[in-house]
């Protein structure tokens, strides 16, 4: 397991900073690269965009079978996070969920990013976000 890769995108992870392709509108998160993963523009021009903390579950699973040192059940979702100013496309991100109750989770559920310690890489805590179902949305 390589430690540094968790730290490389710390700023993006903690501020939900994403990058919009000026040629096709694809929003890349957390990577900022010089080529576009959708339209193939190379070199591509990316502009920084701020993502909202609230998004929508596009699909999810609840993992029950994982190596011993990973806590289960561990729900995992693909979440579309819109841009904070409401313009352009959403970014599609992977996120762990805090909620494990299947009754609270479905495609289309609104979730909010909560920043917390995800796990310890041995030396330093890894801080990033997990998604929660906001209290007012809970059934």
């Amino acid at each position: 397991m390589s430690g540094p890769r968790y730290h490389r995108t710390r700023e993006q992870d903690q501020r939900l900073l994403a990058f919009e392709c000026q040629s096709c509108g694809y929003v890349s998160f957390p990577d900022e690269k010089r080529t576009c993963k959708r339209c193939g523009d190379a070199p591509a021009t990316f502009e920084e965009v701020q993502l909202a903390e609230r998004g929508e579950i596009k699909t999810f699973v609840v993992q029950e079978y994982l190596p011993d040192d990973i806590e289960v059940p561990q729900p995992l979702a693909i979440v579309d996070l819109p841009q904070e100013d409401g313009s352009g496309e959403s970014a599609r991100v992977y996120g762990l969920l805090t909620e494990t109750d299947l009754d609270e989770l479905s495609v289309g559920t609104e979730v909010v990013a909560r920043f917390r310690e995800l796990f310890d890489d041995g030396e330093r805590p890894i801080n990033s976000f997990k998604f929660s179902v906001p209290r007012e949305v809970k059934r």
Partner: protein, 385 residues
Amino acid sequence: MTDAHVVGSGIIDFGEKYEWSFDDLLEGAYLDLVESVDHGINPTADIDAIWYGTLDIANEGSSGASVAHATGLFEKPATQIVNACATGSDAFRNAVQAVKAGDVEVALVIGAEKMLDSTEGLIGSAALERVWRGRGVTMPAFFGMRATRHMDQYETTREQIAEVSVKNHENGTKYPHAHQQFECSVDDVKDSATVSYPLNLYDCCPVTDGACAVLVTNDERAREFTDAPVRVAGYGLSTDSFMRGDDLALTNFPASRQASSMAYERSGYGPDDIDVAEVHDCFSITELITYEDLGFCEQGEGGAFIDDGIPHLDGEKPVNPSGGLLSKGHPIGATGVAQIAEIFEQLRGEAGDVQVPDAEVGMQHNIGIGRNATGAVSCVNILER
């Protein structure tokens, strides 16, 4: 330009081969191939080049020289191909391209994997080593996310997904090289342990060791080896990722659509022409989605397709007569080669208890996950009698 033809195949029984070394696997498949060639073969004189598919999970050294050592086929170009779960089928595709180009007359394609030597297994290594910046995505999670979305978007039922596993396990009991030979019901699948909601244990292929080999040659040499060669009619390979924001990728595998389109175009055949298919069913949901991606049915109708019995052994379009990965097992480097070998047997009418009557055109398909589990690769080959 010459066509490429499959003229022989060899396989070992898939399963737990802990007592077999990696070389034993390769040697076993190779010897079975040598003995299977109808008119005989003088391997050191006849074989010009080798394509070797393995992810090398057992860490046995990553080079084509592994095959040379296991078989005694030295002093020949031997190339290792690695392309995720499409490794074996892409090794085949590369050999076909070299034969068609006229650069190689007779090619050995061989795939092998020892999946059981690692204590963690693939699920473990996927979670630990490919953690996506702390958001662990395992193989079952990856495919399960498509299942959740497919059920939501198309009202595909949990039972329809389970039916794929029921069908393939039934076929597997009739296929001599399958790893897991047992039948199960829809309830058995739903009652088996949850691996990653919505997928249960019986929705997942077993962890299996195995090896398989096929022989590919040109128009001129084909009849030297057999009176019944099987022609390679077309092939395709593509990649995609569901993080590019394409909503179709949440329920399907666009790379399979691209790869199969290429293979259809090259071969001149369409989905309706395929008489028998060996497709990637690492998880039950993968096969259900693949019916749609390969054009066997419309988008969103994979559930109805299996419900209606169309992909059953006695259905209109039999899929995975060998029991698929779910029953046969999924030793990654060997998987695609074994699918090619099964289609070869089907088109020659030699598939025994799982023979599809009068099969003339067959398809082989793999999909693989790579690049921090965010990308997908798909390889499709079409063969004809």
